[in-house]
Structures are given as structure tokens and as C-alpha cells.
């Protein structure tokens, strides 16, 4: 269901964070995705009404940013990094394998609505390449095999936990609410750091360069 006046309280709490209301466009678009999974024309109208803008102004913003979807994605949206480093280390092979495995092209969703795939740009986890993101959670050090298992499990509604993330994988809509700034209380879950993050510190300790 799109954003409506029933969502006034949460929309107002988002708008009130900012000195000027227009700044709330982006979190409100994330909130729209938390409701429908994508940005509907009705939600655009609602955001425009709330912010006293033309719907064309909201549309202009919604169409600029790739995370705002204009059609439904899966409950589990799988992004395979195919920027140079991940691509070379195996990202290209993973993306090709997933397309074939799911019989999907880039930016398509399975007929059961469970899984969609997209090739994504660098996701700031290069020391864990090749990287796959699901609903913007990290799945580090992937292979063709592990990525296939990941999407199969997701289709069965039982995806494994992210490598560096919460103890179970939230849905696309749940994480869209998080991106709108609604704290889901799960920050304490998962590791504080992965092995690669800690490598320099570990060596420094071994060499006695830090207590």
C-alpha cells in the first residue's frame, strides 16, 4: 500500500529531523519503498503533498538514484558487484552464473517475486571480494557455488545470515524502513569486524607494536 495520510506520524517525524522540509525527500522515498517495495506514483504524489512540492520535483529526485526502484523487486534483492576488482576476482562469473541459474536478466525478478538480481558498483568491501549484497547486507568472499546456494535458500524463504550483518537477513521492505531512518534495534547483532578488517591490527599485536 502506498504512503497515505495514515502514515502522517512517521512522515512528520522524518520531516522534523531537518531544518528544511525538502531535505526529507530521500528518506520519504525510502519509506515509500518500505511500504510497496518500490516507489509508486501514489507515493510520489503523497510526498509532494507533504512537502508542498510539485510531483515532478519529487519524481526528478526519485529517478536520479539507482536504489529507488520504479517496479517491484524481490523480497531478496541480490546485487553482484561487477566493478573492476570484484569482476576480475570472480564477480563477472558469479553474475553470469546467477542469471543462468535463475533464468533472469539484469534488473529482473523471479516469477514468485522472491529474488531479483542486479549488477552493482563498488560497495566498499573490496578486501572481501568478490562481494554480493542482498537487501544491502554484506555477503563476503563469494564463489559461484556459494552465490547459487544463497539465492536458492532465499527463494525457499530461508536465506543464510549475512557475513557482516544481523543474525538473520531482513526483507527488502524491512531494510527500506531502516534506510528511511527507522531504527530496527538490531545494531547489536553480528560481528564487529571481519577478518580482513582486523588483519593489520592482528599483525601489529603479534609484532608487539601495540599493547
Amino acid at each position: 500500500m502506498p504512503l497515505t495520510f495514515d502514515d502522517n506520524a512517521v512522515m512528520d517525524s522524518i520531516i522534523q529531523r531537518y531544518p528544511r522540509s525538502r531535505s526529507a525527500i530521500m528518506p520519504l522515498l525510502h519509506l515509500a519503498q518500505a511500504k510497496d517495495g518500490y516507489v509508486t506514483a501514489e507515493s510520489i504524489e503523497m510526498i509532494a503533498t507533504k512537502l508542498n512540492l510539485e510531483s515532478a520535483e519529487v519524481n526528478a529526485v526519485a529517478t536520479f538514484y539507482t536504489q529507488y526502484k520504479r517496479k517491484p523487486v524481490g523480497d531478496y534483492h541480490v546485487g553482484v558487484c561487477t566493478n573492476t576488482l570484484c569482476a576480475v576476482m570472480g564477480g563477472d562469473a558469479i553474475f553470469e552464473a546467477l542469471k543462468e541459474h535463475l533464468n533472469l536478466d539484469n534488473d529482473e525478478v523471479t516469477s514468485d517475486g522472491k529474488v531479483s538480481i542486479e549488477h552493482i558498483e563498488c560497495n566498499a568491501a573490496c578486501d572481501y571480494a568478490p562481494v554480493v549484497m542482498v537487501n544491502w547486507e554484506f555477503y563476503d568472499n563469494q564463489t559461484v557455488q556459494s552465490a547459487k546456494e544463497l539465492v536458492d535458500a532465499a527463494r525457499n524463504g530461508n536465506p543464510p545470515a549475512p557475513t557482516r550483518g544481523p543474525s538473520s537477513l531482513p526483507t527488502w521492505k524491512e531494510n527500506s524502513a531502516l534506510l528511511a531512518g527507522i531504527n530496527d534495534g538490531r545494531a547489536g547483532e553480528g560481528v564487529q569486524a571481519g577478518e580482513a578488517t582486523l588483519l593489520g591490527l592482528k599483525i601489529a599485536r603479534e609484532r608487539g607494536e601495540i599493547k
Binding site: 529526485v61 529507488y68 559461484v144 534506510l179 593489520g200
Partner: protein, 435 residues
């Protein structure tokens, strides 16, 4: 042998390093107490005197940026943190925030106090859900502890801090595009001057700093200018995070004094993957000109890397071995710049499109030798001719790869296609893999 200097990463190996308890147990928020007992101008002077330079790529002195904010102007000031880490290869700020978001928040409060801002923002990229969770929780906990809000630590200083989540646009890492995005517009760079220090967010004086730069401030306040300057080189002071990725045995984060070399870092990473040799690398992300094995001993500080013809950038060291086709690598980066060009400036919007066409032809062996000169001519007409540095970044890998690997481009033409087998570069074996 250069000694490692874990400061930001010093307690990342404690399970609760990201919580307010973990941070305080390790001395967190002590620098804030100290800073709030100083005059704001003295805080700026301390950061200036430390020699801290921006860790987001440009290397501009952080304290000087703070000093540019006009004081006594009766206008609101804003403190904005750029956490839009998206430069290909760059992977330092996200693990930092995952492991310890409070050090950034402490730096923000100190910085806001110094420039006399009562409103601060963290602009974080949208594709990192768990990092967003950790930062949001840290902000909530900092409010509860009285580090944010009204009368911080009982002083006459108020600060609101808002986490603003992006939505997938590399260009928003450019500071003026970031500000437009934060104001609720498409993220497109602004013409400068005026600089953000004069007319930034909502046309008010604004500081925009990278995560790592701001996170470095509490340690400087705590330990002093001389401690900080005892690390690093003459004009590149202090410690920093170097991120090694690619074909090394153990990729990872290494916090070291500025000026360490790639030879030392590869050694720390356990060497290249077995049986392979270094071919090319980026010193600071894909927008910095490529280096080769001839640059293993280049000091990785701002001056050393510049003198060798590249830029320190974000210290994102992407390592590629001899199995990787440089034309494939450069084409992929160029496709990235084309995709991420915001479309505002014609040389970048049209130019990156043409660069991709020509590189695709070359990679598939359909081009001609004179295309290399056309590429260089195009780069010359793109770099430096747009509002921001995205187009300059697009030109960097092309110009540098032709400089060092012209013959490899020509091999594609002689071979009628790419002479490399991409399966040899992957970390895992593929069906039919000949290795």
C-alpha cells in the same frame, strides 16, 4: 621496517567495539571533555597545527577548512560528514563505522563546537544496511548519554546530529553534489566559488569532511599535536588506513604512518597470491592514475605519490596480477564513470559515453591503433572541463594505462580480441578452468 600504528583500529578486535560501552572503556569521549574546555579557536588551531589532511582523497588540511568558516556572521553553520564511500577500491570508512561509529560522532561534536555549528549531518551511502544500523544506534546512544542535544556536558553548546541515507549515486561523494542531495535535489555538483565554507548547505557556511579525517580528531585532541606529527612524513603527518584488495594473499586494512610503501604492505598481506606477480595497481582508488611494479618503493604519502605521477587519494590499493587484462579493467572502470556521470556537464556526460564505445572496440579487437590517440585526445577534452573531478577520474586510468601498457592495447588488435583468459584471474576455479 615501518611499524604499524593502530589508533582508530586499536580495539576493533573487541566484540563490543561498536557500542558506547566499548568505546568509553577504551577512553572514548574523553577528547570531547577536553575540547569543550578549550576555546573553539584553540580547537581549530590544534587540528591545524597537527597537520591533519583530508583522508577522503584531496588531502586538503582539515584545520584550515575549519578556519575558513566565517565567525560572528550571525548565520547558522553546518558540519557535514561525507560517508558516501563509493570510489572503486575504497573500503576503509565502512569497516571503521561498523567497528566503531562513536569515534566519528565524538569527532563531529568536537568539530561542530570548533566551527560553531549546532546542526550536523552524516551523509552515508545507502547500500550498507548494517553500517547504517550501527551509526543510527550510536547516534541514539550518544543522545541518551548527553553527548548530543542541549547543553552538552553541561556547557552552553547544543548540537543536533542527523544520519542522512543516500540512495545509490557515486557522484554524491563529491562535496557539492552531496550538499544538493542533502537539500533534497538530484545530486549534481555546483560551480565553485562560492565554496561550501561560504555558501554550503542551505547556502550557509559548511564544513564537509571525510569520515576518517573527522575520526582522527579525538586522538589528536587526546594525545597532542606532537604525538600526531611524530608519525608520517614532513608534509603528510600522522597515521592512516591503507586498504589492500585484489590479488594479494590476505587482503585487509592496515593502519600505518603515512609514507609506508606498497612493497611493505604487500609483505604484510602475505605477498601476492602464489605463483603470480604484480602487474598494476591503484594507489588511491580508480580515479588515481595506475602504478606498476616500478612503483613498489614509492612512499605512500601525498607528496611521494604525486611526484610519481598519481595521487594518494583514499589509499585504496587495488592489486592486480599478471593474469589481468588492463584493457578489460580500464573499460570496466570507464563504464562505471559513464554510468555515474550526473549529466550536468557536457564534456563528462558525452565524453564518458564515447570513451566506453572506443574502449569496447579496442577490447574486442575491432578498433584501430589510431583509436589510442583518439582516446588520449578525448581525455584531454574531458579532464578539467567539468564542474567536478568525476571526469578527471575517468581520464586517469585511461591515460596511465596507455602510458604503461600501450603494447597490450595493440595486442588486442593484433589478436583480433582479448588475449587474456578471465578465468585465470578469479579466486575460485571455474568449469573448464585451465589452471
Amino acid at each position: 621496517m615501518t611499524k604499524l600504528t593502530p589508533v582508530l583500529s586499536a580495539f576493533w578486535d573487541q566484540k563490543d567495539s561498536f557500542t558506547i560501552y566499548g568505546y568509553k572503556r577504551n577512553g572514548g569521549y574523553k577528547a570531547l571533555e577536553k575540547a569543550l574546555s578549550m576555546a573553539p579557536d584553540d580547537v581549530i588551531k590544534t587540528v591545524k597545527d597537527s597537520g591533519l589532511r583530508g583522508r577522503g582523497g584531496a588531502g586538503f588540511p582539515t584545520g584550515m577548512k575549519w578556519g575558513f568558516i566565517p565567525q560572528g556572521d550571525n548565520k547558522e553553520h553546518y558540519f557535514v560528514v561525507n560517508a558516501d564511500e563509493s570510489e572503486p577500491g575504497t573500503c576503509k570508512d565502512m569497516p571503521l563505522l561498523l567497528a566503531n561509529p562513536h569515534v566519528l560522532i565524538e569527532g563531529i561534536i568536537i568539530g561542530s563546537y570548533a566551527i560553531r555549528a549546532n546542526y550536523a549531518f552524516i551523509y552515508i551511502r545507502g547500500e550498507v544496511a548494517h553500517v547504517i544500523r550501527r551509526v543510527q544506534q550510536a547516534i541514539d546512544d550518544a543522545y541518551k548519554a548527553g553527548y548530543l542535544g542541549k547543553n552538552i556536558l553541561g556547557k552552553d553548546f547544543d548540537l543536533e546530529l542527523v544520519l542522512h541515507v543516500g540512495a545509490g549515486a557515486y557522484i554524491c561523494g563529491e562535496e557539492t553534489a552531496l550538499l544538493d542531495s542533502l537539500e533534497g535535489f538530484r545530486g549534481q555538483p555546483r560551480l565553485r566559488p562560492p565554496f561550501p565554507a561560504i555558501a554550503g548547505l542551505y547556502a550557509r557556511p559548511t564544513v564537509v569532511n571525510n569520515v576518517e579525517s573527522v575520526a582522527s580528531v579525538p586522538s589528536i585532541i587526546n594525545n597532542g599535536v606532537e604525538w600526531f606529527a611524530s608519525m608520517g612524513t614532513e608534509k603528510s603527518k600522522g597515521y592512516t588506513l591503507y586498504s589492500l584488495s585484489g590479488h594479494v594473499k590476505n587482503p585487509g586494512q592496515f593502519e600505518a604512518p603515512l609514507g609506508i610503501t606498497l612493497r611493505e604492505l604487500i609483505d604484510l598481506a602475505g605477498g601476492m597470491r602464489s605463483g603470480h606477480t604484480l602487474k598494476f595497481w591503484t594507489p588511491g582508488g580508480s580515479s588515481t592514475p595506475l602504478f606498476t611494479d616500478a612503483h613498489l618503493d614509492t612512499p605512500l604519502d601525498y607528496e611521494g605519490v604525486a611526484a610519481a605521477g598519481s595521487m594518494l587519494g583514499t589509499k585504496a590499493l587495488q592489486i592486480f596480477d599478471e593474469t589481468v587484462c588492463v584493457v578489460r579493467a580500464v573499460l570496466r572502470w570507464t563504464e562505471f564513470y559513464k554510468h555515474e556521470s550526473c549529466g550536468k556537464c557536457t564534456p563528462c556526460r558525452e565524453g564518458t559515453w564515447w570513451l566506453v564505445q572506443i574502449l569496447q572496440d579496442l577490447e574486442s579487437g575491432k578498433g584501430e591503433a589510431k583509436d589510442l590517440d583518439k582516446l588520449l585526445d578525448l581525455c584531454d577534452n574531458i579532464a578539467g572541463r567539468s564542474f567536478c573531478a568525476l571526469a578527471d577520474g575517468a581520464a586517469s586510468p585511461i591515460i596511465s594505462s596507455i602510458k604503461y601498457f600501450r603494447e597490450e592495447y595493440l595486442d588486442h588488435l593484433r589478436n583480433g580480441g582479448c588475449p587474456f583468459d578471465p578465468a585465470r584471474s578469479t579466486l575460485f576455479e571455474l568449469a573448464g578452468d585451465a589452471r
